[in-house]
């Protein structure tokens, strides 16, 4: 159905031509579901844009062939391509809210496609658009027809994007990271829906993703891309079970999943034994009836509704939940950036909530409670070098100056595995993993006892994530810190934490030791979260 041969795509940039796709070949059979998996910069998305011929103006197909049902996608006239798009080949994208025209009713956006491909007339367009909305299981489609994208949730927007893509009964559906930015349960609902429709209509599909689990759950065959080339392909079970290529092996190893230890994410040669961390019985942090109320537009909104929990010395606690569950608000209060509305935060018995967040910068306890931020890029001052960023807490909170300070910065860099020659670089000159290391080095500069990790690996590729998680595990053992690990990803939390708290709607719905909560979940919401997370069929490695 689709045959791609020696396909090359290049972009013109300031520094000359950049080859994003360097000669790839693959076939797609009718009714087949293909997954293209790779990390950022692998060229997987560019491939799909090039196939659709919707590359940005500076990109072009440099060489090779792509034939879809006898049509030469590289040489076809723009008019023919336009006719093909949406009718034969459709595409859905990441960030569904931005993918819809913000000032046009969603019903009209579906009608535009139907009318374009002569699937509807002025008279029956409305009826057919509503049918298209019903096909993607949108309740009350009649009413949703008149909605604007800003009035719909992210998951709902992605359903509308699907409705647009499926409106003209295409034969091939290309999905470009369709669930990035969606919550895990929404992700499952959207993927199940699309996959069901693809199967029911006998369509083919191409799923582009960084997530091996997602690809193996929804694809018949997977190709793995790296640096613009295909390194390996095969059926999910075979590919993940016995990866042949070293890169696939690394990717498979690094994917967090049930039944592996944190060290097993790393390539076999890097698996040094992990020093155990000691959990004492004394409580380090006790949270009691913590409440945070915001003044919303339509009255007060309670983001955190009176939660209580304890973190013991040396313990690592995972705080899990979907967006809007209050986990970020909770962590901001614990790290004393926000003031709680009421409740207590006891740190070794002293109530931190008594001191306003604005004055906490001067507290001697400031250095004891630190945080690693979600987005390493955003959390580093773009005008400060790595050295300046790491030295900042030393300048403000310790007496170290001059050579002693410089020595401490270098010690921190080596602790976090940041090569010393990178210290004088600015954030934009560092890779994602390096920025994460700078963020961690800064957070541990003042020897904190309590470190809050706010989704520290969410923006990282899976192989870098594996390295950073291991670094965090090493530091915990070495420096005896307690962690509060905030995440939406249960598989990651399982790897690093001793205890886990599940939040929903500002309340704690479930908590307990990691094994108990994850392997024998008692609460239905925890079960839902666990079953929604795609599990890559990777056999547990021999330890």
């Amino acid at each position: 159905m689709l045959s791609v041969k020696d396909f090359q795509v290049a972009f013109k940039t300031r520094k000359g031509e950049v080859n994003a796709v360097k000669g790839i070949s693959f076939e797609l059979a009718r009714g087949e579901r293909l997954g293209i998996v790779g990390e950022s910069g692998s060229g997987k998305s560019v491939t799909s844009y090039a196939l659709m011929r919707i590359l940005d103006a500076n990109g072009r197909i440099k060489a090779g062939d792509a034939v879809y049902s006898g049509i030469d996608l590289r040489r076809a006239a723009e008019r023919d391509m336009r006719d093909l798009r949406g009718r034969e080949i459709s595409m859905i994208f990441q960030n569904p809210r931005a993918a819809l025209n913000p000032i046009r009713k969603v019903g009209h956006q579906i009608e535009d496609v139907l009318r374009q491909h002569a699937r509807a007339t002025r008279q029956d367009a409305r009826k057919k658009a509503i049918e298209a909305l019903e096909a993607v299981k949108i309740h009350d489609a009649e009413a949703r027809y008149d909605a604007y994208p800003f009035e719909l949730s992210g998951g709902m927007c992605q359903r509308v994007v699907c409705a647009i893509a499926l409106a003209c009964d295409p034969k091939l559906m290309i999905m470009d990271e369709p669930t990035t930015g969606l919550d895990i349960t929404t992700q499952k609902a959207v993927m199940d829906l699309v996959d069901g429709l693809v199967k029911a209509r006998g369509m083919s599909s191409i799923l582009i993703t960084h997530d091996l689990g997602l690809a193996s759950e929804y694809c018949d065959r997977i190709v793995v891309m790296k640096d613009g080339r295909i390194v390996e392909e095969g059926a999910p079970t075979a590919l993940l079970g016995t990866p042949q290529h070293a890169y696939t092996r690394k990717l498979v190893d690094a994917t967090p999943r049930r039944g592996v230890a944190i060290r097993q994410l790393l390539p076999a040669e890097d698996r040094r034994p992990l020093a155990p961390h000691e959990i004492k019985d004394t409580p380090l942090i006790e949270v009691k009836d913590l409440i945070k109320t915001y003044q919303g537009k339509s009255g007060p909104v309670q983001a955190v509704k009176g939660i209580s929990f304890t973190i013991r010395e040396g313990q690592s606690v995972g705080l899990v939940g979907e967006s809007g569950c209050g986990k970020s608000t909770t962590s901001s209060m614990l790290v004393r950036l926000f003031d709680p509305t009421s409740g207590q935060i006891l740190f070794r018995g002293a109530d931190l909530a008594q001191m306003p967040a604005a004055d906490f910068a001067r507290s001697p306890l400031r250095g004891k409670i630190q945080m690693v931020f979600q987005d390493a890029t955003d959390s580093l001052n773009p005008r400060h070098t790595a050295r300046q960023s790491i030295a900042e807490p030393l300048k403000r909170m310790t007496d170290l100056r001059g050579a002693a300070q410089a020595a401490r910065v270098e010690e921190l860099a080596s602790l976090t595995g940041l090569p010393a020659h990178l210290l004088d670089r600015f954030p934009h000159q560092l890779s994602g993993g390096q920025k994460a290391r700078v963020g961690i080095a800064r957070a541990i500069a003042t020897d904190p006892d309590f470190l809050i990790l706010d989704e520290p690996t969410a923006a990282l590729d899976v192989s870098i994530q594996a390295v950073v998680l291991n670094l965090l595990a090493d530091l915990r053992a070495r420096l005896g810190m307690s962690y509060l690990f905030v995440s939406h990803d249960l598989n990651v939390v399982r790897l690093l934490c001793d205890h886990v708290i599940v939040m929903k709607g500002g309340e704690i719905v479930d908590s307990g030791p990691v094994e108990q909560v994850m392997d024998a979940p008692a609460h239905p919401y925890t079960r839902e979260l666990l079953s929604a997370a795609p599990q890559a069929p990777i056999p547990a490695p021999a330890a």
Binding site: V18, A20, D375, T385, E392
Partner: protein, 303 residues
Amino acid sequence: MTDMLTDMAKALASTPETQKKKSNGALAHTLYVLRENPVTALSFAMFAFFLGSALFGPALVPYDPLATNAAVALQPPSAAHWFGTDNLGRDVFSRVIAATRLDLVISVAAVALSFVFGSLLGAIAGYRGGMIDTVLNRILDTIMAFPLFVLAMGIVAALGNSVANIIYATAIINLPFYARLVRAEVNIRRDAGFTQAAKLAGNSDARVLAFHIFPNALPPMMVQVSLNLGWAILNAAGLSFIGLGVRPPTPEWGIMVAEGANFIVSGEWWLALFPGLWLMLAVFTFNLMGDGLRDIVDPRRRT
């Protein structure tokens, strides 16, 4: 997709050859922009010319800009008088060059005033939010509710007809632009990760604002300053064109155009043309420089 391209570009940029310090990087980038866009380089050269005119012009011009000489009144441009002479026989070239100082002083002083006060107000409002922010916004809204040139006319008419008052009036009507820009730039960084990190590093709010947020807001401010200088000159010249501020016989571009305009209908074009041209060139220089700075500061915002 753009993210991906940036990543690729970054990957390319971090090859060993290009691993240099930021200062070199910024310099290289500036040189790249100048090479790529010779117009920007030209604008910097023209700026140097105007600066030179303002500093040394009055000392170098061939005639006294105020000296009248009825014998050579209304002469067209010649070797002796490059830009001709006006109705009182004054040398137009000397007057045009000598006027540079006054026009630049007015615009630079006005922009400096609005920059300082605008940044201060905007930074505090953007960081604090709440009541202060609301009050400042109301005040700015009220200033902006006037057509700005008309407000400047009203202020000069009320405060009195002097050069200092022209500067104050221009500063007041420029203030909202700075205050709003800084407010917006500070506001988007108020909850940024690096701001929170700075607080966690033990910085007080004032330190966070002054040493972490504000320096990051400076580049767009520089662009605004450059564009604003041009606008401030136009504004001051406009005011003196309608007879406010600068009084004859002081050489000033706006007033010279106003005086020359009376002779246009009888064909003596040089009286108005040259000061008008100079005024235009000066504004043009600042605008080009602003656009060039925008490219240097952020190539993506190139419009």
